[in-house]
């Protein structure tokens, strides 16, 4: 033990990744970030359209989700199978997904046929067909997802939390929609969703890999120039509801899923880094958090428990989750409440120091690969960060003092308002 600690004392803060981010503006005025790396003959491209499933119009829940799933199901003169064959023949990889705050496009393409792959992707983004055959086939898949979710305690619990916390705001319901809303969606609804979600006024783009700034600029104009200039209005902010107490929904099975939440804070809050450290100590990096120690290591109540600062574009929360055997529910809820109350009184200097070395040490490890870099770069742009942020971020973590964390613990954590939803046959008292 002593030898180990001696060794640790000699280790300095790890080298920061040299991430050279270039800002690229295409001839047509589209902005992107780029990390050039010509070691491997492919490019990773990430595009995020802000808004996502929260842009669904009243009564059209699920439209953005279904639309996004149909982007790869045929475009221009290619039907779904012809599109898939063309993409695979080029060995390009396109992924389309939608979440509460955006529609994401992640693409990988070989240098040897990049122009053809870009042409195919351009067709998907700007001229999706929404053929009846494809709409019905994918609609049937979405309906199966909805019926599966209705029997999945984890999904039932997260939907219950969302509805309790966010009410009638789009954050408060399942972005897949309901069976009824999805069945009622027409081709016109999908076209409306596509035009509303995928427009140039909400684009964030990043690329990493074997492409130069000039090549990227031209590619962006080719790829995105044909999109509508303006999309649907963004949703409004929503106030997080924190009713306190426990909302329980019975569900057959040996385990109960427990989710818990309270107020959070924005990324641009001056206390964000102190709160991040606080959350790490609460339930962040898995094995070494207070929740993990008390619930798993000391009592063996669960396989895992975690917490996270959830930062949506229009709301924030501090959330946690755990699944336990039905007969352990009351004990687990009590332990979570006790951890919360204990943490509100403050953290130790050692917890702060360990968490700082974790956060500063793990940060450079994120940038390990073109695909990961492109995705991180899009996220940074959406948060309004400067291109030199990777070089300055650790200093912001280091600057947090014990007094800062303890002040934020007392202010942010509200043990009396900690709210629970649980789905299963366990009883909270």
């Amino acid at each position: 033990m002593i030898r180990l600690l001696t060794l640790l004392a000699f280790l300095a803060s790890p080298a920061l990744a040299e991430i050279k981010i270039q800002e690229v503006t295409s001839p047509g005025g589209i902005k992107a970030w780029l990390v050039e790396n010509h070691d491997i003959a492919f490019t990773a491209l990430d595009i995020r359209f802000q808004g996502g499933t929260s842009l669904d119009l009243p009564g059209k829940r699920g439209a953005t989700n279904l639309m996004t799933a149909l982007i790869e199901e045929g475009s221009g003169d290619l039907d779904a199978q012809a599109f898939a064959a063309a993409r695979d023949g080029l060995a390009a990889d396109f992924k389309f997904s939608a979440d509460a705050d955006g529609v994401d496009v992640s693409a990988k393409m070989l240098t040897e046929n990049r122009d053809k792959a870009l042409g195919l992707l351009q067709g998907a983004l700007t001229a999706p067909r929404f053929d009846t055959e494809a709409v019905e086939r994918v609609r049937a898949q979405v309906l199966q997802v909805i019926s599966s979710n209705a029997k999945d305690p984890d999904t039932i619990a997260s939907t219950l939390l969302a509805h309790t916390a966010f009410g009638d705001h789009p954050y408060g319901s399942d972005e897949n929609g309901t069976a009824d809303s999805v069945k009622a969606l027409t081709r016109d609804d999908l076209v409306t969703a596509w035009k509303g979600a995928m427009a140039r006024d909400r684009i964030y783009v990043a690329a990493a890999g074997d492409i130069t700034p000039d090549q990227l600029g031209k590619a962006l104009d080719q790829l995105l120039g044909g999109l509508p200039a303006k999309g649907a209005p963004q949703p409004s902010d929503v106030k997080l509801n924190v009713p306190g107490g426990v909302i329980a929904q019975p569900f057959p099975g040996p385990q109960t899923t427990i989710l818990f939440w309270q107020k959070g804070l924005r990324f641009d809050d001056p206390d964000y880094f102190a709160a991040t450290i606080l959350n790490e100590i609460l339930g962040g990096n898995g094995f070494s958090s207070r929740l993990m120690d008390e619930v798993r290591e000391k009592r063996g109540l669960t396989y895992g428990i975690d917490s996270s600062l959830v930062i949506y574009d229009h709301a924030q929360a501090l959330e946690g989750s755990v699944s336990v055997s039905n007969d352990k529910v009351a004990e687990t809820v009590k332990v979570i409440r006790d951890v919360w109350a204990g943490l509100a009184k403050g953290v130790t200097q050692k917890e702060l120091d360990d968490t700082k070395t974790y956060l500063t040490g793990s940060y450079p490890l994120r940038f390990d690969g073109n695909a990961r870099i492109a995705s991180i770069l899009v996220g940074m742009q959406m948060l309004g960060l400067p291109t030199d942020y990777p070089a300055t971020r650790n200093a912001k973590v280091e600057a947090v003092t014990l007094a800062d964390v303890n002040r934020v613990a007392a202010k942010l954590l509200t043990p009396g308002e900690l709210s629970f939803v649980m789905v299963g046959d366990g009883k909270a008292d």
């Binding site: 640790l8 898939a84 209705a150 040996p254 063996g300 396989y303 070395t357 940060y363 490890l365």
Partner: protein, 440 residues
């Protein structure tokens, strides 16, 4: 320095796969593989033991996985749980996993922390210290893990039943996590016995991938792992073998928690063997042809696009396995289509394939993707480390891993048809129906 090292290690440089790969062996028998990737200051450090759930004594199911958990409960010099805390305090992450064929431990840290994680990992290779209280707590954790991952999920329970029906004699029929009744009886002594019998440098493979130089890794490996004596108790991995499988098996399971009924079929299938991966490569491409692509594979075209009888189809095969593995097919029927009709449609598809042969255009696209994968894979060093570890712990060699892309590229349509004709044999199959209520 370099000369000194050469005296101790047989160094073998191999052609690039995901960056330069170097392999060596310590005097105590521990294999070492170094994969270089200098793009980011990160290293992945893994130790793979050639011991998995299929090596357990009968009646002790779950012991390999239980020991994996207990390996985090401290040594003579590191307190329970501290290994993960020390790694996390350095910004790293760590975890472990157990399969039928191996148990692996890994850490991902800044490249200049490699010595620290080697010190910790080598320490627990021979200094594990288990208190009864820690064992009792961790037994609750693995029972909860089983509840969460298996007992709460009818699909996971069904997969266990399918495996048990597929293997008449081989231990692959027993789930890795263990049967609950046997898990409940596992003791501290069982874990210590399993540890002493199987955890030793001559039963382990060290994989280090990332921003490191092979001679630096080997110097550290020699410092930390080198002093651990080899064990003379390591047993050859000779497991009970399957008798001829003469009867097709059928399972029907109902569980009210099932949301989506499906039909699944597995066939006993050969694994990749060292120096002989051709059939495994043909089966890999067969799986792609039958159910790989969601739009253009044979089952997708006929069941999802032409007849609309299915909403999801897939074919699955992974040749990395110490003993014979399975080739799997799954069909999720569309609303209103019975499991019986879905199974008929699947069988009609297979019959058509065996009669008509390979669709050359789809075959060419799969080959193009296999070539491209070699490019894309270079972006994921941790994935490469994982492939080497799995292969070396499953009876393959570094050379086999290096050869695999070429073996895949050389597969012909005739190879695929020959493999299909051999493997798609009803007598060696299990067909399962999972549904919420008794099928009509």
């Amino acid at each position: 320095m370099r000369n000194l090292l050469t005296a101790f290690f047989l160094m073998l440089a191999l052609p690039a796969f995901a960056g330069p790969v170097t392999s060596a062996k310590l005097d105590n028998g521990m294999e070492v593989v170094v994969i270089e990737d200098h793009r980011a200051p990160v290293v992945v450090h893994m130790v793979w033991y050639r011991i998995g759930a299929a090596d357990q004594a009968r009646g002790h199911s779950g012991i390999a996985h239980f020991l994996e958990h207990l390996m985090f409960q401290g040594t003579k010099t590191v307190a329970p749980g501290d290994l993960s805390k020390i790694v996390a305090a350095q910004g790293g992450s760590d975890n472990a996993f157990t399969t039928q064929d191996y148990t692996a431990y890994f850490q991902r840290v800044a490249a200049d922390r490699l010595g620290l994680v080697m010190q910790l990992e080598s320490d627990r290779m021979h200094n594990l210290n288990l208190t009864q209280q820690d064992v009792d707590t961790e037994l609750k954790v693995i029972l909860d893990e089983r509840t969460q991952r298996t007992d709460s999920d009818p699909s996971a329970l069904f997969t266990e039943q399918m495996g048990a029906a597929q293997y008449l004699n081989h231990p692959y029929g027993t789930p890795v996590i263990g049967w609950r009744s046997e898990m409940e009886g596992l003791t501290r002594q069982d874990a210590l016995d399993f540890y002493k019998a199987n955890y030793a440098p001559n039963n382990a493979i060290l994989i280090v991938a990332g921003d490191v130089k092979p001679d630096e890794v080997l110097a550290l490996a020699k410092k930390y792992y080198g002093p651990i004596p080899p064990s003379d108790a390591i047993q050859p991995r000779v497991r009970p073998v399957e008798p001829p499988q003469l009867a097709a098996r059928r399972l029907t399971m109902t569980d009210p928690r099932v949301a989506q009924p499906y039909v699944v079929r597995t066939y006993l299938a050969p694994q990749a063997k060292t120096g002989d991966q051709k059939q495994a490569a043909a089966l890999t491409i067969l799986a792609e042809l039958l159910g790989g692509n969601a739009s253009t594979s044979l089952m997708a075209r006929s069941l999802m696009f032409d007849s609309h009888e299915a909403t999801y189809v897939a074919a699955q095969y992974d040749g990395i396995s110490l003993d014979p593995t399975t080739f799997g097919l799954v069909v999720v029927p569309a609303q209103g289509v019975s499991l019986g009709d879905a199974e008929k449609a699947m069988d009609a598809c297979l019959a058509k394939f065996l009669k008509d042969g390979v669709d050359q255009a789809e075959f060419d696209r799969i080959k193009a993707q296999i070539r491209a994968k070699q490019v894309y894979d270079q972006d994921n060093t941790q994935g490469a480390a994982h492939r080497y570890g799995m292969a070396l712990a499953s009876g393959l060699t570094v050379q086999d891993v290096q050869d695999w892309p070429k073996v895949l590229a050389d597969v012909t349509p005739q190879d695929v048809m020959a493999a299909a004709a051999q493997v798609l044999d009803p007598k060696q199959s299990v067909t399962g129906w999972l549904s919420p209520e008794e099928p009509k």
